[in-house]
Symmetry: C2
């Protein structure tokens, strides 16, 4: 435990994401089933950089928890999970609290439009720290986006400069402004960060125009492929809420390298006719 | 307007979903832009069965609003939308309130597990009336699922019998129990309803066993293809929250007949290794 504690302190000092998993409940004992070797209070540390330290008392449980801690680290959220005595993932014998010491991933949404409110809601379920940014102060209000962590009135590219250093592989920038005046500098600025996902809303025609203007603005043509546009998976989303699911599904799929169809990679209509 | 009102009454009496779109705000007038011919208070009725009646004053605006009303009818939710004077979908000149007279679609989730809470949250963003049902009263509590509309302690197939008549193409049944004892009768019962989406969680191995037992239980082999299992799109979801997005994305895609990859239709691992 001393070693785990000292590693934890080192990780936090170095601003490395780290998580501690602790057995906080064992209902198998009280229910008289085969008890798990997991001990109440047993602790395990997981760091992407420093690996796993400690054990919850059962090899299979350790393996399943280490996988879930990895996912919790990616989302930046502490969470309680339930397992069977040997790590079975849909039983409830052992409760493990996964305490994540890492900033949550960020989603920055440019454009305070109808689609934005729905995207904020789904992004919050996924654990993002969500910022809505729009240069038009009438629209970028906390009242319109009560679920957002921040609502910022600024030109997108100007705001982006203030957070550019902090954006990494788990973060996302979604450009919903649909106005070249705001889009072009915002996308150009996002491409110069390490942000893991960059999506832009609009029709294929709008994006074709956008590509021309981005090149005029000095963006390397080889970088254009990093823009997911039209934004979202090709699931036939129609409403803002459905579009929000399509966007978040695309972000998850890109992060997992899943081979699933994005609107960008097909040529059909964005809005399918419902059956 | 009299004709619209009488059609509205007829639809409601016949329990047909119907919506009324009304122009409730025109900022273009106050801002001195080219005013829209849309009149404040102009009204349009949209019914999937009876078509469109009335006009908001501009042909293109009518067409865009009719499309959005169709989506609102599908989700069962009233909503305010903003348009440009000629129906441009990301401008804010004209505000139209779409008042839906229809029950919201239902999602019934069997199994009060970790994945359930996340699925409830995303389903609520999409406008579902969400019921969580589990036979184990320790787990099926309102406290664990505060966002659910109903939490029911009952055997899944017994509960399903009480609502079977009301399930239609827009509704969804998600079986997350992962226990043949509950799964088999629940899936068999769901297959005898008109529910639009039926998904079941579990590994490919679990589902192969399930299929055998369903056939033993008298399910026609030709019906097995209606079960989306493993549940969700193949986006490499790992956490309950990501899985919830994968499930909702699959429901949207199936409803829209979108050609996008479900876990059911591939053979790879359910949980991909993140990059």
């Amino acid at each position: 435990m001393d070693k785990i504690f000292s590693t934890l302190v080192s990780c936090i000092r170095a601003e490395e994401p780290v998580a501690i998993a602790t057995v906080i409940e064992r209902s198998d004992v009280t229910q008289g089933q085969n008890p798990s070797p997991a001990e109440l209070g047993a602790t395990m540390l997981v760091s992407h950089i420093r690996g796993v330290q400690g054990s919850l008392g059962h090899e299979k449980l350790d393996a399943v928890v280490a996988r879930d801690v990895g996912a919790a680290l990616s989302s930046g959220r502490s969470v309680a999970r339930h397992y069977g005595s040997a790590g079975e993932s849909r039983l409830d014998d052992v409760t493990v609290f996964i305490d994540v010491f890492a900033p949550p991933p960020r989603m920055i949404i440019f454009g305070a439009v109808d689609f934005t409110a729905a995207l904020v809601k789904v992004a919050k379920v996924l654990g993002y720290y969500v910022t809505v940014c729009d240069a038009r102060e009438v629209f970028a209000t906390k009242r319109r986006f009560p679920d957002a962590d921040d609502v910022v009135v600024a030109w997108p590219h100007v705001y982006l400069e203030t957070v550019a250093d902090r954006l990494g592989a788990l973060d996302a920038v979604c450009v919903l402004t649909h106005d070249h005046k705001f889009d072009i500098p915002a996308i150009a600025a996002a491409l110069s960060t390490n942000v893991g996902y960059l999506g832009a809303m609009g029709s294929r025609k709008t994006h074709a125009e956008r590509v021309e203007r981005l090149i005029d603005a000095g963006v390397e043509p080889s970088r254009l492929n990093e823009i997911m546009a039209p934004i979202g998976l090709a699931i036939g989303a129609r409403t803002p809420e459905e579009t929000a699911v399509a966007i978040c599904a695309e972000i998850i799929a890109r992060r997992a390298n899943a081979d699933v169809r994005s609107l960008r990679d097909e040529t059909g209509p964005i809005h399918l006719v419902a059956s």
